[in-house]
């Protein structure tokens, strides 16, 4: 075999090798990227109760999805509200690491793939599968009541938790079924293959006096965007104290919900005049009131001919 033939063979083998290496590299990249991790109920609650499917894996604690609850106790005559937030902080960690690798060239080797977590669950299953428990009753999984209602849904049946996506449920608890003050409240979401456990919160003591009671009622009405009850409660608050910052703030919110923007602007200005004096450097100004003032001022200015 002459030198030219050897050269052609070597060139051919070399190029074939390069193509193979390229393909192997592509395979590696695809493997790293992966697909989302899907969690979905594998058995119905009824089947579980009857023991029809004993081969299903037992629910286990899952760190993959974070369920955080927050409780608005409401006034004595109003409902309570549990806000349940779902997010995936593990995915957030991966996203933050990627952000660092983009910022710092030397950090490249630390970057790891982001694997979104997907929770697929029909709307009707959310209510069935969330169990609230108070301290001591967690093992029994006793519901604290059966009459609560979901007021805000995730909006879709499949929620994919990426780094910055979360979803909230709002669960209204009638005043007669509220957990007692001091109780440790937590929630558990059974998704079959996993059991997601929330943080534990302490139910606050009842409002001390009519003013505090009215404020708590306003907060629930505000979250439920119930303009009428909110305005009633705000006016009740102002009746107890005509110089109450909170009263004007809630009144402004109610009026804004009802589209009465001029009146809302005036209420916000009244609220700002009555906000507490800031003393220390780390005091925080009521910027959300100022923000509403600016937004409303802008909207009204745009409406004027």
């Amino acid at each position: 075999m002459n030198k030219e033939k050897i050269g052609r063979w070597a060139l051919g083998i070399g190029l074939t090798g390069l193509v193979l290496l390229f393909l192997l590299g592509r395979l590696g990249v695809q493997k790293e990227t992966g697909t989302s991790e899907v969690i979905q109920p594998v058995e119905s609650l009824a089947a579980k109760a009857s023991g029809a499917d004993r081969s299903s894996p037992r629910p286990r604690p899952s760190p993959q999805i974070d369920m955080l609850i927050y409780y608005e106790p409401g006034g004595t005559e109003t409902s309570g509200l549990v806000v349940v937030s779902f997010s995936c902080q593990r995915v957030r960690n991966a996203a933050l690491e990627r952000e660092l690798s983009n910022r710092y060239a030397f950090y490249k080797t630390k970057s790891s793939p982001i694997e979104p977590v997907e929770l697929q669950m029909p709307r009707e299953e959310w209510l069935k599968r969330i169990l609230f428990s108070v301290e001591g009753d967690a093992a029994a999984g006793r519901r604290i009541n059966v009459s609560y209602a979901i007021r805000k849904w995730p909006g879709k049946e499949s929620v994919k938790f990426t780094a910055f996506e979360e979803c909230d449920l709002m669960i209204e608890i009638p005043s007669a079924a509220k957990p007692p003050a001091g109780a440790k409240l937590s929630a558990n979401l059974d998704v079959g293959v996993a059991s997601i456990v929330s943080n534990t919160i302490t139910v606050p003591s009842p409002a001390a006096g009519p003013r505090a009671d009215a404020v708590l009622a306003c907060r629930v009405h505000q979250l439920l965007e119930a303009a009428g009850p909110l305005q009633d409660a705000a006016e009740k608050l102002l009746a107890t104290d005509p110089a109450d910052f909170d009263g004007y703030w809630f009144l402004g919110q109610a009026l804004e919900m009802r589209g009465k923007l001029d009146a809302a602007l005036a209420a916000y200005e009244d609220a700002l005049k009555r906000s507490p004096r800031l003393v220390k450097n780390d005091d925080e100004a009521p910027f959300h009131v100022m923000f509403r003032l600016q937004e409303l001022s802008r909207t009204l200015a745009e409406k004027k001919p």
């Binding site: 608005e72 933050l96 004096r277 925080e284 600016q294």
Partner: protein
């Protein structure tokens, strides 16, 4: 004329082809290697009858659910055609609490021989030294050591019995032992890790993290602690010793907003991954080469007065000082994403020692004297896009003419942290009037900061200042 041993290549394609061929050959058939084997086989004995081989440089111990192991080999020079009984001793083994900085408990030895290894007697424990002795005459013996801690360190020596005489088997470098992991400066951190992150030559206890800049270097975690690593939302990882790490327990679930713009490495932790929510210590399994305790930031849902969106308790400072970042979760529900991202970054800025750009002094000339009046050098001053600058002052005060003006309407939430006290946007530029005839700039330069220079994550700095 071509002589023996020379190759004459005239055609460039031949050269390219040969290069590609050898590249391919190396990629597909890498040099045969045995785990635990760091030297080529040729000449490794250097005149000694037997050698204990150093372990692979790139190996490091990992504990916990992903615990790993390493194979270690000793052998007799094949030229001697001898065989012997080998005995391995594992000693000076660390006993760190748990298996990384924030997981596990117990202080058992961090390295152990894997039990029931073929052709070895049962494991013996001789006053904390683990001994594994062979039962079969061999030329080459390999044993497996299991790691139980990501910061495990220890020493291993070998002996060989040839013709009834025990003798020490020296390591490749002539020492009487090898270190686990490979750690020539014996500071208990694998050498490759120190080289990789540029801290070779530093002490294990050093805490220098220069990036991002700020009041001082360091993040409260020593090089050894960053090497030993942390469990973050159920996953173990080491951290980079050149970058300030901030750990967050988030019970609100809205993330950290624009806080990441600071360039610190933010890691979310589970509630069980700190000592307790009250103490918040992240490196609670510390001991060896510790830089002291370092705490996480706890973002906590709270009912706050309607005037307040969130606050830090007890006041501005480092994560060791700030006990809680309180956020009114009810207000988050009714806020736009840009407002939430601003508020989180603002409050978390306070939790790493960054203050407002100034105070909130009252102005008697202003009708709405609520202490949030925009005025030169105070909280609304400075770089317009800084998250620590207060937005939407109502009204603002011009000391030049002693007039209170309604705040310029066009203002937006900041998205970053300032590097200078200078006023920009509505706080900077030449004297001018806005569309409504109000004088600009509004508040000029800030009187504190710049924010990036106040950043501190370790120690007990408070209110933007130096250590208490």
């Amino acid at each position: 004329m071509i002589e023996r041993g020379q190759v004459n290549i005239k055609n460039p394609a031949v050269g390219v082809g040969l290069g590609a061929f050898f590249y391919l050959a190396l990629a597909v058939f890498p040099r045969q290697s045995v785990q635990g084997w760091s030297e080529p086989q040729f000449g490794f004995l250097k005149g000694r009858p037997a050698t204990l081989h150093k372990i692979e440089k790139s190996w490091r111990p990992i504990g916990g659910p992903e615990a790993n192991s390493i194979t270690i080999t000793a052998e007799i020079d094949p030229l001697t055609k001898l065989q012997g009984l080998f005995r391995f001793t594992l000693y000076d083994v660390s006993r760190g609490r748990g298996w990384c900085m924030n997981s596990g408990f117990g202080e058992d030895p961090d390295f152990r021989f894997v039990g029931n290894q073929p052709d070895f007697l049962p494991l013996r424990n001789e006053d904390g030294r683990f001994v594994l002795e062979g039962t079969k005459q061999v030329r080459l013996a390999s044993i497996v050591v299991q790691a139980f801690d990501s910061g495990a360190f220890g020493r291993l020596k070998a002996e060989v019995n040839i013709d009834g005489i025990w003798s020490e088997v020296p390591a490749d470098d002539g020492k009487s032992y090898i270190t686990l992991p490979l750690d020539e400066n014996e500071n208990h951190i694998a050498d490759f890790w120190e080289e990789r992150w540029g801290v070779l030559g530093q002490k294990a206890v050093d805490d220098r993290d220069p990036e991002p800049g700020g009041l001082e270097d360091g993040d409260g975690f020593s090089n050894f602690e960053e090497y030993r690593g942390f469990v973050m939302k159920g996953r173990w990882s080491d951290t980079w010793p050149g970058l300030k790490d901030v750990f967050v327990v988030d019970d609100v679930g809205r993330g950290v907003g624009h806080f990441t713009k600071l360039g610190v490495a933010v890691h979310f932790l589970d509630r069980t991954e700190v000592s307790s929510l009250a103490d918040r210590v992240v490196n609670f399994n510390g001991g060896n080469a510790s830089a002291g305790i370092q705490k996480a930031i706890y973002i906590c849902p709270a009912h706050l007065p309607e005037t307040v969106f969130g606050k830090v308790e007890p006041g501005i400072g480092t994560p060791n000082v700030v006990e809680r970042v309180l956020i009114d979760a009810g207000k988050l529900q009714r806020s736009s994403p840009d407002k939430v991202a601003w508020a989180l970054a603002h409050l978390l800025g306070h939790a790493v020692n960054i203050t407002h750009h100034g105070d909130f002094p009252g102005v008697s000339e202003c009708d709405k004297d609520i202490g949030a009046v925009g005025q030169p050098g105070q909280a609304h001053a400075g770089e317009a896009n800084c998250v620590m600058r207060y937005v939407f002052a109502f009204p603002y005060y011009d000391p030049g003419d002693g007039t209170c003006y309604p705040y310029p309407i066009e203002d937006t939430f900041g998205t970053d942290y300032c590097s200078s006290r200078a006023g920009t946007g509505l706080n900077g530029g030449p004297s001018r009037a806005d569309g409504a005839g109000n004088p600009l700039p509004m508040a000029g330069a800030g009187s504190r900061g710049p924010c990036r220079s106040s950043l501190a994550v370790k120690g007990s700095h408070a209110n933007g200042g130096s250590n208490k």
